[in-house]
Amino acid sequence: MAKDDVKQAYKLVGTRVLRPDGLDKVTGRARYGADFAMPGMLYGAVARSPHAHARIVSIDASKALALDGVKAVVTRADLPEGLTGEDWNLQENAMAGEVALYDGHAVAAVAATSALLAKDAARLIEVDYEVLPHVTDVDEAMKPDAPVIRPGAADHTVPDGMPPNVVKYFEFGRGDVEAGFAQADLVRERTYRTEATHQGYIEPQACVGQLGSDGKGEMWVTTQGQWYVRKMCADLLGLGVAQLRVTPSEIGGGFGGKTTVFMEPLSLALSRKAGGRPVKLVMDRAEVLRATGPTASASMDVKIGMKADGTMTAARAEFRMQGGAFPGSPVNEALECAFAPYKLAAVEHIGYDVLANRPKAAAYRAPGAPMGAFAAESLIDEMARELGLDPIELRLLNVVEEGDRSSYGPKFKRIGLREVLEATKVHPNFSVPLGPNQGRGVATGFWFNYNGDTSVSMAIAEDGTAQVAVGTPDIGGGRASIGLMVAETLGVPYEAVRINVVETGALGINEPTHGSRATFATGKAAVLATEQATREMCRRAAADWGIDPDAVEWVEGAAQPAGPNAGKFPPMSIAEIAGNMSNTGGPIAGHWEGVPRGVGASFGTHVADVEVDPETGRVTVLRYLVVQDAGRAIQPDYVEGQYQGGAVQGIGWALNEGYVYGADGRLQNAGFLDYRIPVASDLPMIDTVIVEVPNPGHPFGVRGVGETGITPPLPAIANAVAAATGVRLADLPMNPPRVLAAIRSRMDD
């Protein structure tokens, strides 16, 4: 989209301003997780299990402690007992108790006077393991004779008689699906599989933790959510939550993977044991891949019925996902999103959350939705081809709109899927002619978007500039979008507002930057806080003028008399009011706390053009188009950036990313060499269209844009490969050996 095509209903909202944190980030000054140091700081290292599943018989740290400069070693025995539920899961994942549950599971940690020394010491910790049978594949883990990872871990959702590694069970839907399939002219049922992928943020986990014997602590950490870190660390260590102060650094990518804790509590445990000296813990890339949250792997059955004209009569999904050795795979979200773009009278969803000997899954951008979309959209595409139907027309025929019942239950509010599909249809990419061995794939995706606990405080400075304290770390330009909305509301230049991402001591609790919520929720809260301040400024002007405050309104950065008093006094500017505030009642500020209502869901449609080398199975992405409803693009550059980044993560997931476990249960590709995220030369430009169907629940119409973009690429690429080769791959990643094998097996037919 050309830069000027975005609607200009506002002075600032919708403009492509520079990000306020940009200068620091292009000069190397911005401080990320590992860039912080404290006086007297020690360096930590973690000893990890080389086994997928092993009983810890004994741990002997005497050789490590004998090294000059080693100050502390901690094991699970140094953490409190008696935790339950997710707290216990987090603690068990941070440090193994009786059993190491996956390759890379932490078993001990050490603090020393240098990073090299800490690493040396970690290698000297001797652990005696009794190796146990393991399982890493989700379908294998569901077999009745699979190794049991945690007996009795199934919760209340699991009916009797299920395999022991099934720990949660989901079932929802409506209508009579069998009757729906009976009405269909074409019914197809397929099984799809996706491998676990990692968020792949370039900045490894890093923190500096300090904890004294008085139970007061501090932490500097790279995180999507400093309050989550505070609560989790406090619970895992048995501290009073408010006694811990957590300051977020700049964050080098998260994508959901930094919404939880891994080694962070260990830095505090080490610090406490080392007499309160601060302890820095920085993961290396292998640790990130082995022991932080990847997403789940999935095995999925989908069945769909269609009339000859493409009308969908019924759909059924049965998904199995493993999220590591702990409950929490996003199987429910995968099911809820799979059929969300379609009007369905009858739909059934069944899901199994399964344990396996892998690291504990963390959220990854629209958790679950990409897998669900891969299964559903692959089958829909296959059926559209079989019926000879255009993929966009088929989707328009079944499109959900405001008031339609969603596949997951409630009716949709105002949504923009129809507008997205119409914009896709007319985009030039959709009609570029294709050559030999080339194919075009279309797919649609959905994400709910989210609000969550939000607390924002803003204040007017003496010169009429403004500061805003927000609790959501800025991962992709959040300061810019929030700054624009506050400046627009306040009627001041964008440059007059400073957005500060603050530590836990400065605000009420905030959920992390997750769920595509920062611009929606923090943005809405910031606008409401700003309106509180403008009301106060109107009140002060009214007092000065001697009129009723209700007869004053805030217009373009000034209080001005309205109604019967209109024109009686010249407008009083923010600078005037601010400059005089110490004489008119003191500080002027505004704040807002709550869970902002009015979330607006977002749909997107992607069009992928690929070429497949029939001799090697290599897939080259020739062209890629993202069309997505943003509600309103506050800073269009960063909206496009979210679309492009989500698309490319999805392209990686589709083609070459994936965890590879050996027969020994060890991760084979714990590095960027063989965990193959897309590189610059793999890709074309990623074309974007921002559709704006404003969300009535947000003052500027924002829906949230971060997550939807990763949901369509998996099926869009698969559908393009199918179009190019005539063979359909049902297993991800579609790496060259798999694509070539599929092509050659077709040639053998």
């Binding site: 409506r174 959220a363 709910f448």
Partner: protein, 81 residues
Amino acid sequence: MIEVNLWSGLRHVTGGATVVEVEGATVGAVLDALVAAHPGLAPFIEAGVSVAVDGEIITGDRFAEVPDGAEVFLMQRLKGG
């Protein structure tokens, strides 16, 4: 009266019902009424749920208003990345 639509997996704790009629003017009142009607729902609701009221998914606000006659869906609690 509020008709609450449950997810179908809850049938085994509601005697087969997937729609339950309860009284309640807030999300919290509706949830409490559900547990009163079907005590087997308690662990599901304690584990965290979202409640969709007339299409808006509400998480973490027991005081949110539920207008009479509203369409209410009980959903598993959502999370994001």
